[in-house]
């Protein structure tokens, strides 16, 4: 938390702006006018401009991730997940979704959360479409490691 506050602290809605998109120059000058720090701060837009299906393809080829396409985002897995109960940032439904559609920025942000999965298999037990989310988590982890 303390680290997050460093950049762009003065922005009132700061908690809703991503760290990596804030450019706060330590030294910026134009025509003799000093615009360092806040005066030269820029925020980059967070628009999703493309879908990247490369990870999705890797997950699909993994023996435990082959059913990922069946997921229809009902959220049963997350509701049953004991880890999500403790840490809402681990959300198997959401991870499956961003991998399926290839939202790169979100994967960057939340991809590593797949390792939170305890492989207890409760999600796979409740999944109405036999996606095997815990398997998919494993497959995503493998894919993320393999991806250059």
């Amino acid at each position: 938390m303390s680290q997050r506050k460093k950049k762009g602290e003065f922005i009132v809605e700061r908690n809703y702006v991503d760290d990596q998109r804030i450019i706060e120059p330590e030294k910026l000058e134009i025509g003799g006018v000093d615009m360092s720090g806040r005066w030269g701060l820029l925020v980059l837009p967070r628009t999703i401009e493309d879908f990247d299906h490369s990870l999705h393809a890797m997950v699909k080829n993994h023996p435990r991730g082959r059913n990922i396409d069946r997921c229809w985002q009902c959220g049963n897995c997350t509701a049953a997940c004991p880890v999500a109960e403790e840490n809402p940032l681990f959300n198997p439904r959401y991870l499956i979704y961003i991998i399926k559609l290839g939202y790169k920025l979100e994967i960057e942000k939340f991809g590593n959360y797949v390792y939170f999965c305890g492989s207890c298999g409760r999600c796979s037990e409740v999944c109405p479409k036999d996606v095997d989310p815990s398997g998919v988590m494993e497959a995503i982890g493998t894919a993320l490691r393999r991806k250059p």
């Binding site: 908690n15 702006v17 025509g31 049953a80 940032l89």
Partner: protein
């Protein structure tokens, strides 16, 4: 087994929200989850009641099917994880979860640009921008911390408006500091500001440095009366005490009761 699970889930949500059910399984709401600590219960119910009893609520809010049309055109959404859809959703649940409203007033709504892009695309004819304007009004009226934080840098302009009826005036540019990011060109212009201003070929604008244009004393008197009667000065006092007091002083100068 299922029942046990659901009881546990409810318990978890309680822990995170204080009470009741909430929609926040999404990563973007991390901050809210961390900050859902206790708000003053009385304030919570008071704010919610005032929001839901406002005469505009029936104009601005009908129902929400969570389609995301508003957000698809929202400018604030392009930079912050702010979504008018979430605002309307929370107003929808306001009665059962008053704490959601307070959380929202505390930071979320201040990201809004008030451009009203959301309004004219909503299939249910909701007006999220209007709801947010109402919420800002409430936050100011009740002197919420977020309102003070958001408005503090606003003081000078606010005072200018309330006492002259105009807002941005040439003398605000006289020092380079507040407009440093407008660059060297601006810095250069500011040096000759008085002469340049005097040469503006409109009589009402030329030579006026502390107002946008020449304003009659009588006009300002009328404005101050309106502000007093409509409760604007009191609302401002609750967030920016010094500005309110300065306006009161001006009021005395103009002989407004």
């Amino acid at each position: 087994m299922y029942q046990r699970k659901s009881v546990k889930i409810v318990r978890r949500l309680r822990r995170l929200n204080g009470n009741g059910w909430a929609y926040h399984g999404l990563p973007g709401l991390q901050w809210e989850i961390e900050n859902s600590s206790s708000y003053d219960r009385k304030l919570m119910s008071e704010l919610t009641r005032e929001l839901l009893e406002d005469f505009r609520i029936h104009e601005f809010y009908h129902a929400c099917i969570n389609c995301g049309n508003c957000t698809s055109r929202c400018p604030a959404f392009r930079f912050a994880d702010f979504s008018p859809r979430v605002v309307v959703q929370k107003v929808m649940h306001a009665k059962s979860e008053p704490d959601l409203i307070v959380q929202m007033l505390d930071q979320y709504i201040w990201a809004c640009f008030q451009c009203y892009s959301c309004w004219d695309v909503c299939p249910a004819h909701n007006n999220p921008g209007g709801l947010i304007a109402m919420m800002k009004e409430l936050a100011v009226k009740h002197g919420l911390q977020s309102a003070s934080k958001a408005l503090e840098p606003y003081s000078r302009v606010l005072f200018k408006l309330m006492t002259t009826g105009t807002q941005i005036t040439p003398d605000m540019h006289s020092s380079i500091a507040p407009f440093r990011d407008w660059g060297p060109h601006k810095a250069e212009l500011v040096k000759h500001l008085r002469e340049e201003r005097a040469a503006v070929p409109v009589e009402n604008l030329a030579k006026v440095m502390d107002r946008g244009w020449n304003v009659d004393a009588e006009t300002i008197r009328e404005l101050l009366i309106i502000e007093k009667e409509a409760g604007v000065i009191d609302a401002v006092k609750s967030v920016l005490k010094d500005v309110g007091e300065m306006v009161d002083e001006t009021r005395a100068e103009y002989g407004v009761e």
